[in-house]
């Protein structure tokens, strides 16, 4: 494999490739994130919750501010300067995002509010239109509720069967079960590229190939992969990919659904109203072309422009370097955590197959107590079930603690986490 081929695969396994690339210049990056200079409880913040939502660089804030100050008017309907300028920036953002994930054209990119809305769009539009009673949908035990509940609801409503790929003992998908789970009735498969709890990176390609071989369509939940590693939809050959802008330096309120053109064309609209029609007469509407068919009402175009700026920022860093940086941090964090008595890592401990998400439990310390005590030290981690309750049921845990990393995370912040864990133990006399 050449380096470019490796980069295109998006499976996160960079192997020897990563040593050829410089990792990120975090001190330069951090200067772009004003919030990282904030103090929490009298200390510089150690922000370790980027898997929930990332911080934003000034470039993104400025891109949005600039629209509001210099080019703001509703898109698509005006013929005057402001409206045309805003429309152009909005559509440019679509082009940037298409390029970022290797989509064939901007028309493959539908803007949604977030990954959750993109998955609901698929459940409503694709699911309610193309699936018949008795059909099977295959998801996995590790899915975020966003990729779980819409299928549960759809299955109940339409009389479909929902099946689950189980978790292996080492906290990865048990893909040895895939062949028996895929049946001639399987019509749709949807799974997370990277688990937001286990951190496990799943190589989507063999799964997609096997699903396609039996005629099933595949949705990849890229919420935890697109922000952190190279992802190329043509290489993957997925039918749909969803992700949220706010986890990848972009603002809240903007997400993406990528879809193959023929599928998007065949799907009926999700929401209806303005912008999504090409004509409305008294006898009924005619739908607009893809992607506008799926963008009813005034879209979050300033946010989309912000996401375009975020994608520019990430592309300039190079997504392979982003992945290499996070892999290094994850390896370091896993090593440091292994020294902490009573700490147990949840999910795979091989940094080659783990995204920058380190989830753990601490013997006799509830994750919520830990998170509160860490906050006193300015260390922000997440505690709970991370919107993956079925997974926690499987793991036999009611809650876990999770530290997650991004482009601005530095090794000394992992040290701060470890030190704060020791302090917390001491405070609780554990």
């Amino acid at each position: 494999m050449t380096n470019d081929e490796r980069r295109a695969t998006g499976d996160g396994r960079l192997g020897a490739y990563e040593v050829l690339r410089p990792t990120l210049d975090t001190s330069r990056i951090r200067a772009d994130f004003p919030i990282l200079a904030e103090q929490v409880n009298g200390r510089s913040v150690v922000f370790l919750d980027s898997a929930a939502s990332s911080q934003k660089p000034v470039q993104v804030l400025q891109a949005m501010d600039d629209v509001y100050r210099h080019a703001y008017a509703n898109v698509h309907r005006g013929v005057y300067t402001f409206s045309e300028a805003a429309t152009e920036r909005y559509e440019q953002a679509r082009v940037k995002i298409a390029r970022f994930i290797g989509a064939p054209a901007a028309e493959n990119i539908v803007f949604t509010r977030n990954a959750t809305e993109a998955l609901n769009l698929l459940a409503y539009s694709y699911g309610r239109h193309f699936l018949q009673p008795g059909d099977e949908i295959l998801i996995t035990e590790l899915e975020h509720h966003a990729n779980f509940v819409p299928w549960q609801v759809l299955a109940q409503e339409r009389g479909l069967r929902l099946k689950f790929i189980p978790i292996s003992p080492e906290g990865r998908l048990a893909l040895d079960k895939l062949d028996e789970l895929l049946t001639p009735r399987t019509r749709l498969l949807s799974f997370a590229h990277v688990s937001n709890v286990l951190g496990a990176i799943t190589d989507p390609r063999p799964i997609i190939q096997r699903a396609h071989a039996i005629g099933a369509r595949v949705i990849v939940d890229g919420s935890q992969s697109v922000p952190h590693m190279p992802v190329n939809v043509v290489e993957l050959d997925c039918d749909f990919l969803v992700f949220s802008g706010h986890k990848m330096l972009g603002p809240t309120g903007i997400g993406v659904l990528y879809g193959k053109r023929d599928l998007l064309d065949a799907m009926p609209p999700f929401l209806t109203g303005g912008d999504m029609i090409s004509a409305v007469g008294f006898d009924g509407p005619r739908w607009n072309d893809v992607p506008l068919k799926f963008e009813a009402g005034t879209p979050a175009f300033v946010e989309a422009i912000g996401l375009g700026a975020a994608v520019d920022y990430l592309s300039a860093l190079d997504m392979s370097a982003v992945r290499a940086h996070e892999r290094e941090l994850t390896a370091y964090a896993l090593e440091r955590m292994s020294e902490v008595p009573g700490a147990k890592i949840i999910g795979p401990t091989d940094p080659d197959v783990r995204g920058g998400v380190v989830t753990f439990t601490l013997d006799r310390v509830h994750p919520h107590d830990l998170a509160s005590l860490l906050d006193r030290e300015g260390v922000a981690i997440r505690a709970g079930h991370h919107c993956a309750q079925p997974l926690h049921i499987r793991l036999g845990l009611s809650a876990t603690a999770r530290a997650s990393f991004y482009i601005y995370t530095e090794p000394h912040e992992v040290d701060a986490l470890i030190e704060a864990i020791y302090k917390a133990r001491h405070a609780l006399k554990r």
Binding site: P367, H368, D369, S372, L373, G384, S398, A399, A427, L428
Partner: protein, 130 residues
């Protein structure tokens, strides 16, 4: 770091008062906090003087963070002998005062889970009787 987990909170967590279950309880109620998975079950035995029902005995079990479990222990200690009507009127602030530590909004829910379970238990018991 210490102020949130002061001695008396840790003490209630380590040595919970009124911990366990009751045989022949007049009512039992259990709830969990959907966000963090904290769970509390409370059994209550009532004593009556005419129309007035009082908490004669109460016991809880559960799992979850220190705040949720310690607050339940403090609550049961506090409501012993109180009338059910009185308990129904208890303000959340009363429990927060018992806990006495500065809680952030997210943690207030942990502290109030026990009160929610007890009040809902009383409400359901009343409904069943009427």
């Amino acid at each position: 770091m210490q102020d949130l987990y002061r001695e008396h909170i840790l003490d209630h967590y380590e040595n919970p008062r009124h911990h366990g279950t009751l045989e022949h309880a007049d009512f039992t109620h259990e709830e969990s906090n959907p966000l963090c998975g904290d769970r509390i079950r409370i059994d209550v035995k009532l004593g009556s003087e005419g129309d007035r029902y009082r908490i004669a005995e109460a016991a809880f079990t559960g799992d979850g963070c220190i705040i949720s479990q310690a607050a339940a222990s403090m609550l049961l200690e506090d409501v012993m002998g109180k009338s059910v009507d009185e308990v129904e009127q208890l303000e959340p602030q009363h429990v927060l005062d018992l806990v006495g530590a500065p809680l952030t909004a997210a943690r207030v829910k942990c502290a109030l889970l026990g009160l929610k379970v007890l009040k809902t238990g009383i409400k359901l018991w009343k409904l069943q009787r009427s």
